[in-house]
């Protein structure tokens, strides 16, 4: 078979079962593509030996007729997931050399489902960023660019390596994590599909923590069917994560009928931002028409506290990060600074953390420290948590009115040039304006590629679902995907 690395998970799965190809062939093709794509800087720790070993084991299981759901399918794993014996450093200097003695629950479930890990993927440091420019490994380059010699664009962040790798056909799919939009924004910037499930669907155990009340893992894939297949393998209850939900996981792929007749889709008026590019506005209108043509009822809705989601997020996420990142002290793992004569333990902490954390992580840890400090806790942190309750209430109310899903743009722009927004942290934060509400309310959200802008760059639409109704959300996304018919791929230049 030709172009093995371009296959969807579903097509590769079916080809493997029919005996048209083998996992070893698929895996070798991906490893070759990865080695030829170092310019993109997506894979930062390659694991060819592990990959070949798992591919051979998968072929044996396929032969024996004992193949689990993702048997033999080669994927990439975001560097945020702890993988046993394999560098897992959250793209931070402070975890340099760290090789976990354990496997995260999600990556273990993928192993159990037969998936083949090709390596670890680049990301923003500790998942803090929207452009993959805060990584200790350097920037990831988006495989998409404008024209034959256009400037290097960001793949988005924080799951930028995952997005670039799937878009550039280096792996069939990849894991991502999403705290404020880190799956959905890079998916939109690279023309792929990414879903963040309901908070509690995927276990957070073994995933390096950023903001524990917001973090969720999810798949980044070529299409909606693949998202359903991979999400199925990733989620489920885990006693090791006390916030993981003890709920049965439905068959997501079986829910993909494409029939959304009678569903009600809400269009939130507060997402029509001032200064929104006309192309994004036009794409949103087209998305609305596509869903209406598929038989859904479209209704205007109001989510009045939308405007306050980003400021609330930039209190809550740094606060939780400052607490979570307190563990990086140079004692148990990772980097420890060289100490001067007479330095005590405090100097060790301070020097280690100054050297180990990059500027954005230092900034967020300190902002978090400030908003939690005596005298400001109520004014900032408790107020933000109250606003968060109001944001969730906005969603609860529209769902109670019978809304099945909400359609919004995924991002306020297409992929931008690397270096362009790095100078102003607040401007960078605005990237997450359409996605961050979903994390604050703990809801499932999916980004689906829906068109190209005038420069030929991909744009995504986001659908937001009711809690725990990923199956229904995936089906609506499937209908949107079929109507949009997005098939564009980046022209290979790397």
């Amino acid at each position: 078979m030709s172009d093995l690395t371009k296959l969807t998970l579903a097509a590769a799965r079916d080809a493997l079962r029919k005996g048209d190809t083998t996992s070893v062939e698929l895996t070798e093709a991906c490893l070759k593509a990865i080695d030829a794509a170092d310019l993109l800087n997506a894979f930062v720790h390659k694991t060819p030996d592990i990959a070949m070993e798992r591919a051979k084991a998968a072929d044996a299981r396929l032969q024996a007729g004992d193949a689990p759901a993702m048997c033999g399918l080669p994927i990439g794993i975001k560097d945020l997931f702890c993988t046993k014996g394999v560098a897992s450093q959250a793209a931070s200097r402070i975890l340099e050399g760290f090789r976990p003695e354990y496997e995260s629950t999600v990556s273990q479930q993928l192993i159990d489902a037969g998936a083949v890990m090709l390596g670890k993927l680049n990301m923003d440091e500790f998942a803090m960023g929207s452009s993959n420019e805060t990584s200790c490994y350097g920037n990831v380059i988006n495989p998409w660019r404008v024209g034959a010699d256009g400037a290097a664009l960001t793949p988005g962040g924080s799951s930028g390596g995952s997005a670039a790798a799937v878009a550039a056909d280096l792996c069939l799919a990849a894991t991502g994590t999403d705290t404020g939009g880190s799956i959905r924004q890079p998916a939109a910037f690279t023309g792929i599909t990414g879903i963040k499930p309901t908070y509690g669907r995927c276990s957070r155990w073994g995933i390096v923590a950023f903001a524990s009340s917001l973090d969720q893992a999810g798949p980044m894939t070529r299409d909606v069917r693949d998202a359903a297949i991979m999400l199925q393998a990733m989620c489920g209850h885990d006693p090791k994560d006390s916030t993981s939900a003890e709920l049965a996981v439905p068959d997501f792929e079986a829910a993909l009928t494409g029939d959304i007749r009678g569903k009600t889709i809400g269009i939130p008026r507060e997402y029509r931002m001032e200064g929104m590019p006309a192309e994004i506005e036009a794409l949103w209108t087209r998305g609305r028409e596509m869903l209406a043509d598929a038989g859904a009822k479209i209704t205007d809705i109001s989510l009045p506290h939308t405007k306050y989601a980003l400021p609330a997020y930039y209190v809550i996420a740094p606060a939780e990060a400052s607490s979570n990142l307190a563990r990086y002290d140079g004692v148990r793992y990772g980097h420890r600074a060289k100490l001067a004569q007479g330095d005590g333990i405090t100097e060790m902490y301070e020097k280690t953390r100054a050297e180990g954390f990059g500027p954005e992580v230092r900034r967020r840890v300190m902002v978090g420290t400030y908003v939690l400090s005596a005298g400001f806790y109520d004014a900032y942190y408790n107020r933000a948590r109250r606003v968060r309750a109001l944001i969730k209430r906005d969603f609860d109310e529209v769902f109670a009115q019978g809304i099945d899903a909400i359609l919004t743009p995924a991002t306020p722009s297409a992929a931008f040039e690397l270096g362009k927004e790095m100078s102003d942290p607040v401007e960078m934060y605005l990237n997450d304006v359409f996605t961050v509400t979903v994390n604050l309310a703990g809801l499932p959200g999916i980004s689906v590629p829906a068109g190209l802008d005038a420069q030929g760059l991909p744009l995504g639409l986001q659908l937001i679902g009711r809690p725990w109704e990923e199956a229904d959300l995936l089906n609506t996304a499937y209908a949107l995907e079929r109507a949009a018919g997005f098939v564009a791929k980046p022209a290979k230049w790397w």
């Binding site: 009340s213 916030t243 930039y314 005590g344 100097e347 900032y380 107020r383 809690p467």
Partner: protein, 95 residues
Amino acid sequence: MSIDQDTARRVAKLARIKVEEDALPALAQEFNTILGFIEQLGEVDVEGVEPMVSVTPMRLKRREDVVTDGGMQDKILSNAPDAREGFFAVPKVVE
């Protein structure tokens, strides 16, 4: 609310991140930009609204308070920058 250099120094100390004296003005400026953005939350009427504890209405589970794991000293110490005689080693803490 404006953050001055003294506050920036104090926050860096609380966060245990070394910041050189000459980097403090820029840091204070960054804090002010971000806090200026956050200030918008002051406009929201939060009267009578409880701060959110858990985004999904769930009770955190309890388990019996018994040992469930252990006996893996080597694994625990395997990533330590400095481990000696089965312990993490750190600079002198008590004089």
